[in-house]
């Protein structure tokens, strides 16, 4: 994985000391909260319901074991013994003291980590496919492209005060595991007819209060123009994006107003001007970055078979293990969704266990997924049983990936100052209602996503079943949505009708899944059945 050069190390170290000074001035009373707030947010430090919250960036979701161990150490030393993996492939600590924040950032810097680009109206931490470099279906590793964008976007002077935050995802396979088209800019690395790699660019996607699917604006951008083209995309947005209304400031609103064709035309025009500036890096620089992501030294003769005689292991194998591009290896997804647990939370001890397993069995690599799970990307098939046993001992072997209990949930009103309703207790109740493993597997792939407010951090618009928590006269109320997807079959979910109480929405989900079981045809997923038969029968089943 990528190693900092002297520039990366220098800017991160300088930022830590700058923030240390800012914190001291705030604590000494030389700055008001209004003056300090934008500075702390630029360093990932929010003030939430119970304490300060620090969001640590995990660029494109990739970590090594040393970084993971440090995350566990920070959880123990500065927080309350756990961390929360987020839907942006980052990690949040919920109980941070302001006076500790500079020391935490200094500790993060020792393992080449930081909290830059995790807040504010800048280009946020770039996200990517959690199976990058391992997926059997990718055409190349998307992370060098993502890393190039990280370097381009970090402290970009022109794009540090955009009209609104800006999220970019990069993938390199037709299977979309990163909700790519629900980003401000989604990038798919593809090959052209000449076999050259380049970027297919989508723009104007996003969730929040006005969900939209990104439109294709450029079929192929060669590497030689990649940075210039992205610069042009951002420039047009920065110039014309609305700053008068925070709810209309995202690029999706601009593109909706202009039309994708007109936006693309303006980008093309701007690109001609930007290209002349000569900001695109030479191929040699890309090759230097890409060398950091070279495949590990896979054993050529690694056994390609797995002993499935332990039935519990076989279930986990079928559910949580994916094909790897190297024979004899597999991709393991560790579910952070135990039945009745808190989606995305992991104790410091569990974080250490995952780090140890990565070091010993996965070439020192881990990934954070946008679905709030952890991936060991390169595990020998011969080691899978040993890994599973260690995970089971640590309470990390839930065999529920992509099933109804593998729920995405934002922190909700239990932690978040923006939330209108709690998300986590609802996730716990749903996972308990559908806890029986055979029932979950019978329901098959069913992506359930819960947001505690309209900002949609829990991706409810993209859920096969989505839930949005709202405040109805001081009481928590939950809207139910059906038919969304963040994958390659991207779609936005539809609201079923009037909202429910917490218990009521669990019952409503059960009525919807019961209908699915009655109506499905062989091989049809929940979302497929919904698309085929439409909302009406589901409404009838849910509301009677």
């Amino acid at each position: 994985m990528y190693k900092y050069d002297e520039y990366d190390a220098g800017i991160v170290a300088a930022r830590v000391e700058e923030f240390r000074d800012q914190v001291q001035r705030r604590l000494a009373g030389h700055m008001t909260e209004d003056q300090f707030k934008p500075l702390r947010l630029m360093n990932g430090l929010y003030l939430q319901l119970h304490a300060y919250m620090l969001r640590v960036a995990v660029p494109y979701g990739t970590l090594n074991s040393r970084q993971m161990h440090l995350l566990a150490h920070i959880a123990r030393k500065y927080d309350r013994g756990y961390g929360h993996f987020t839907t942006r492939q980052n990690l949040q600590y919920n109980w941070i003291k302001l006076e500790d924040a500079p020391d935490i950032l200094a500790e993060l810097a020792t393992v080449e980590m930081h909290a830059i680009q995790t807040s504010g109206n800048c280009i946020r931490n770039i996200s990517s496919d959690q199976f990058a470099g391992a997926a059997a279906d990718e055409i190349t590793d998307p992370r060098p492209w993502a890393e190039l964008l990280r370097q381009w976007s970090t402290f970009h002077p022109e794009f540090s005060y955009l009209p609104r935050k800006f999220k970019i995802a990069v993938i390199a396979s037709d299977t979309d595991r990163a909700a790519m088209r629900l980003h401000d800019i989604g990038i798919q690395i593809v090959r052209n007819d000449a076999g050259e790699l380049g970027a297919r660019i989508y723009a104007g996607g996003g969730m929040g209060r006005t969900p939209m699917i990104a439109s294709l604006i450029k079929e192929f951008v060669p590497f030689a123009d990649f940075v210039s083209y992205l610069e042009a995309c951002l420039r047009v947005y920065n110039r014309h994006g609305r700053r008068d209304n925070i709810y209309k400031a995202r690029i999706k609103i601009l593109i909706h107003a202009l039309g994708a064709e007109e936006y693309a035309r303006q980008v093309e025009e701007e690109f001609q001007a930007v290209k002349a500036l000569g900001i695109d890096p030479p191929q040699a620089e890309f090759d230097r970055i890409a060398a950091h992501f070279a495949p590990p030294a896979f054993e050529a003769d690694a056994p390609d078979t797995v002993d499935r005689s332990d039935p519990d292991f076989a279930v986990w194998l079928d559910q949580n293990v994916h094909a790897h591009q190297a024979p004899g290896y597999a991709v393991v997804t560790i579910s952070l969704k135990p039945i009745g647990g808190i989606p995305g939370d992991a104790s410091a001890d569990q974080i250490d266990v995952m780090a140890d397993l990565a070091e010993r069995y996965s070439f020192d690599e881990l990934r954070v997924t946008h679905a709030q799970n952890i991936v060991l990307p390169h595990v020998r098939k011969a080691d899978l049983y040993t890994v599973w046993q260690a995970l089971r001992e640590a309470g990390l072997a839930e065999a529920n990936l992509d099933l109804i209990s593998d729920i995405i949930a934002c922190p909700g009103l239990d932690y978040c100052s923006l939330a209108n309703a709690r998300s986590i207790p609802l996730a716990q109740k749903i996972s308990e209602r559908f806890a029986e493993p055979a029932r979950q597997r019978d329901l098959g792939e069913l992506k359930l996503k819960i947001s505690g407010c309209i900002n949609a951090c829990g991706h409810h618009h993209a859920g096969h079943i989505g839930i949005l928590g709202v405040d109805r006269k001081g009481t928590e109320n939950y809207q139910l949505l059906l038919g969304g997807s963040g994958a390659e079959d991207v779609s936005l979910a539809d609201i079923t009708g009037p909202g429910f109480s917490e218990d009521g929405v669990v019952d409503a989900i059960e009525r919807a899944t019961d209908l699915y079981v009655r109506e499905r045809t062989p091989g049809e997923r929940f979302v497929d059945t919904y698309r085929r038969i439409g909302m009406a029968p589901f409404k009838e089943a849910i509301y009677g």
Binding site: L49, H50, W95, K97, L413, D414, Y415, I424, G474
Partner: protein, 98 residues
Amino acid sequence: MKLLTGNDLSTGDVVWWTGESWSRHLAEAVDVGDKGDVLAATEEAARRVNVPYVIDAEATPEGPRPAHIKDRIRALGPTVRPDLTLKPADPQAGSWVI
């Protein structure tokens, strides 16, 4: 009744105005009447609290009960982690929030 609440500047802890100082315990909060905004400005300027604001609450035999669920969660702690609330020995404490 009206309560004045905010977060501790250094720790971020939720705090309540007791009439003389700030407490982490809602039970010690007092009715600030119509003086909340003035108190908030004075206390924030003195760096004794961060982002203070006035909330509505109900006086009950068990003590003040904030009108909005958000402030009840602030007063107790996350309902999903009873061990991290101000009443870790009482696993049913979360029911007070609802």
